[in-house]
Amino acid sequence: MRHILSMLVENESGALSRIAGLFSARGYNIESLTVAPTDDPSLSRMTLVTSGNDDIVEQIKKQLNKLIDVVKLLDLSEGPHIERELMMIKLRAQGTNREELKRLTDIFRAKIIDVTEASYVVELTGTSSKLDAFMQAVPEGLITEVVRSGPSGIGRGEKALSL
């Protein structure tokens, strides 16, 4: 099962490699990993998507919590939460495809953020599955480059993951 883990991590060099190293050393999956500083410059917020059976995910959480650099950890999948991922996708946009891609962009409430005579760069934010759906809707052969941020997540409601 897929789990989305949210962590507050000491904003120190080496924290990221400790976490990445833990996953490779113990053979756990990382599907995606995002990290950036928070309002508190001493802390980074990390969102990590992993998968495994209940025992493995339980062990992943324990091992992450054991790292000295991990200050707090929350399994967002255990409660209501919001996930968003950003994608920028470069498309071959010539002739009739130009109109078609423009329409598709509107349907997905995406934005064209760069235009040349032969290409668009489209920006799209949403759940990972929405991004997948957009890519599938693009006619065959028109995608020239894809960059995705990996999902970030936050819990719903008043409760916050903070110190």
Binding site: D55, E58, N65, I68, D69
Partner: protein, 597 residues
């Protein structure tokens, strides 16, 4: 230039004055060690740590430095010191090869949760990353085998970082911590204020201080309802200084107890309630009790594969209680029914408190009586029998003789292999911290340098290292360290001319194709020991062994290397092959059934 503080102006002056000391980075390193109460540092100098060594030299009246002959020896010696004394072991090594040589010892300590602080020199900060002379990414290389590590980039962070390192290494589940210190950070020309901070709090690290009382109550109910209970205890009992509490609890309940290799001595092994070590080379009765138990009480043990065998066959009928300070140990390999996260000692104390409230029955309940009858029947098999009439020295006989000669009062370090298993099986340790070996990593070469550490922790104690002719050669250079510091260690070399355990596996599982397990061209160990200035003795006949050991141990101020020529074909029994169930043991060939399934 500012004045260097006089040697007597430091830790002996308590309480510290309001006026902070002005120290260089190098002096901060040494002052921090002194303030932490460190008396002994194991190390080897080199370019990147020269400033630190200079500061150390100036404080040599307050802190002792032991010069090893290889950085692996430094880490093992600090490790042995820590295991025997319960204090934090400390090493000081240089950058590059100094640090990489230390890695095996760091990993050894990590696998067995031993508190170490390893200070490694690093190239100066401006050249980090430029592939400078003797530069390696020490923090990167050691990351997977430390509890935590630090690269100190600012002089101002040095004192706090070293304090954190000691705190992390010794608290919770202990482990090694590496502090990598670039040379410019230790510049003797730049002084900054220094103040020792004994109290530390880390927002991201709060080890459990107490077990959950509800869980403890639940565990005690399960223990008292059990008909076939067994204690399974590990190194965590010794690390957590819980041997006394464990012994009291086990004796109050009257239950059988088995131990892992790492836990030997936490409960007196010569007591009748102790049913032997469990696992791959455990006793028949211990493994059968594990297989038949309906309530397993695991204390400070981690369900290692050498203990569980095939997980599907592990304790199939048991409710499992697990007490451990490390939450990640719980339900890692085997799913646990009643987990208790907390320091073993406090949890056992809580259990004892509750037990006193509920009281124990005056007589053993009938179910427990029947359980002991069953265990005694298993015991009668005498699963560790060996040929006592042999004309060759049997390794088991050598260990029994060692026990007799030392009267059980010994710190025994070990290398890795058959001799390690024979020692664990045939030397009954009745006290904790007496049996010192590399269990998790299985590091050949550990024994001799570890004995160096133990002897320095207890200068007046009898210390021996049991080894094999293959293992001992892996850190043989430490014979020079033993000479320099006049350490009266006794090496008991069980010399069978083979890497015995490798040979045994090849006999069992590779149709006796002995691929490279024969150690050709062995040195004359007596001459070797003598060349280092020690006493060397060689014994080849069983009848001469006891006298030779007496002679060795009678030389109280000499290092003696006793080369004991043992039967090269002897195997360690019982044995559960890797991947087999607890109940599927090879028993000694002297017995009518070689294998019980």
């Amino acid at each position: 230039m500012q004045q260097r503080p006089a040697p007597d102006s430091s830790s002996e002056q308590a309480p510290p004055s309001d006026q902070p000391l002005e120290l260089s980075g190098a002096e901060i390193v040494i002052q921090s060690l002194i303030d932490q109460g460190v008396e002994t540092v194991f190390g080897y100098p080199g370019g990147a740590v020269l400033h630190i060594y200079d500061a150390l030299f100036q404080r040599s009246d307050q802190i002792q430095h032991i010069l090893v002959r290889h950085e692996q020896g430094a880490t093992h010696a600090a490790d042995g010191y820590a295991r025997a004394s319960g204090r934090c072991g400390v090493c000081l090594v240089t950058s590059g090869p100094g640090a990489t040589n230390a890695v095996t010892g760091i990993a050894t300590a990590y696998m067995d949760s031993i508190p170490l602080v390893v200070i490694t020199g690093q190239v100066p900060t401006p050249v980090i990353g430029s592939d400078a002379f003797q530069e390696v990414d020490t923090v990167g290389i050691t990351r997977p085998c430390v509890k935590h590590n630090f690269l100190v980039k600012r002089r101002e962070d040095l004192a706090a970082t070293i304090a954190k390192a000691f705190y992390i290494a010794q608290s919770g589940r202990p482990g090694p911590v590496v502090v990598d210190v670039p040379k410019d950070v230790t510049d003797p020309g730049i002084k900054i204020p220094y103040q020792f901070q004994p109290e530390l709090k880390l927002r991201s690290y709060q080890p459990a201080r107490k077990g959950h009382l509800g869980q403890i109550r639940k565990a005690l109910e399960a223990m008292q309802a059990a008909e076939r209970p067994v204690f399974y205890t590990g190194g965590g009992v010794i690390l957590g200084n819980a041997a006394a509490a464990l012994t009291e609890l086990v004796q109050a309940l009257g239950y059988p107890i088995t131990s892992t290799l790492m836990g030997l001595g936490a409960y007196p092994m010569s007591d009748a309630q102790f049913i032997g070590m469990l696992g791959m080379h455990g006793t028949y009765e211990a493994n059968m009790a594990m297989h038949e138990t309906d309530c397993l009480i695991a204390v400070g043990a981690r369900f290692d594969d050498r203990v569980t065998g095939k997980i599907e066959h592990f304790c199939p009928h048991a409710t499992i209680i697990h007490i451990d300070v490390d939450p990640s140990s719980i339900s890692k390999n085997v799913r646990v029914d009643i987990p208790i996260v907390g320091p073993v000692e406090t949890v056992l104390a809580d259990l004892l408190g509750l037990l006193r409230e509920t009281g124990t029955p005056a007589d053993r309940p009938p179910a427990l009586k029947a359980w002991w009858e069953q265990i005694d029947a298993w015991r009668k098999l005498d699963c560790m029998g060996y040929d006592r009439a042999s004309e060759l020295i049997k390794p088991q006989f050598a260990v029994e003789t060692l026990h007799r000669v030392t009267k059980g009062d010994l710190y025994l370090t070990s290398d890795v292999g058959q001799h390690q298993m024979f020692a664990a099986q045939f030397y009954p340790f009745d006290k904790p911290r007496r049996w010192i070996n590399s269990g998790g990593l299985g590091t050949m070469g550990f024994g001799l340098p570890a004995a160096v550490g133990v002897q320095l922790a207890y200068p007046d104690a009898q210390v021996a290292c049991i080894s094999g002719e293959a293992s001992i050669l892996m850190c043989i250079q430490e014979l020079a360290t033993c000479k320099q510091y006049a350490l009266p260690i006794k090496v008991i070399l069980l010399n069978n001319g083979y890497m015995g355990m490798v040979r045994q596996w090849q006999e069992f599982f590779y149709e006796s194709r002995y691929a490279h397990s024969y150690v050709d061209a062995l040195p004359d160990f007596v001459a070797l020991a003598e060349s280092f200035g020690h006493v060397g003795l060689r014994v080849e006949k069983p009848g001469e062994l006891e006298a030779a050991m007496q002679e060795a141990f009678a030389m109280r101020d000499r290092f003696v290397f006793l080369d004991v020529v043992v039967d090269p074909t002897e195997n360690v029994y019982p044995m559960i092959a890797a991947g087999k169930g607890q109940h599927e043991m090879h028993l000694p060939p002297t017995m009518s059934q070689r294998e019980l399934a």
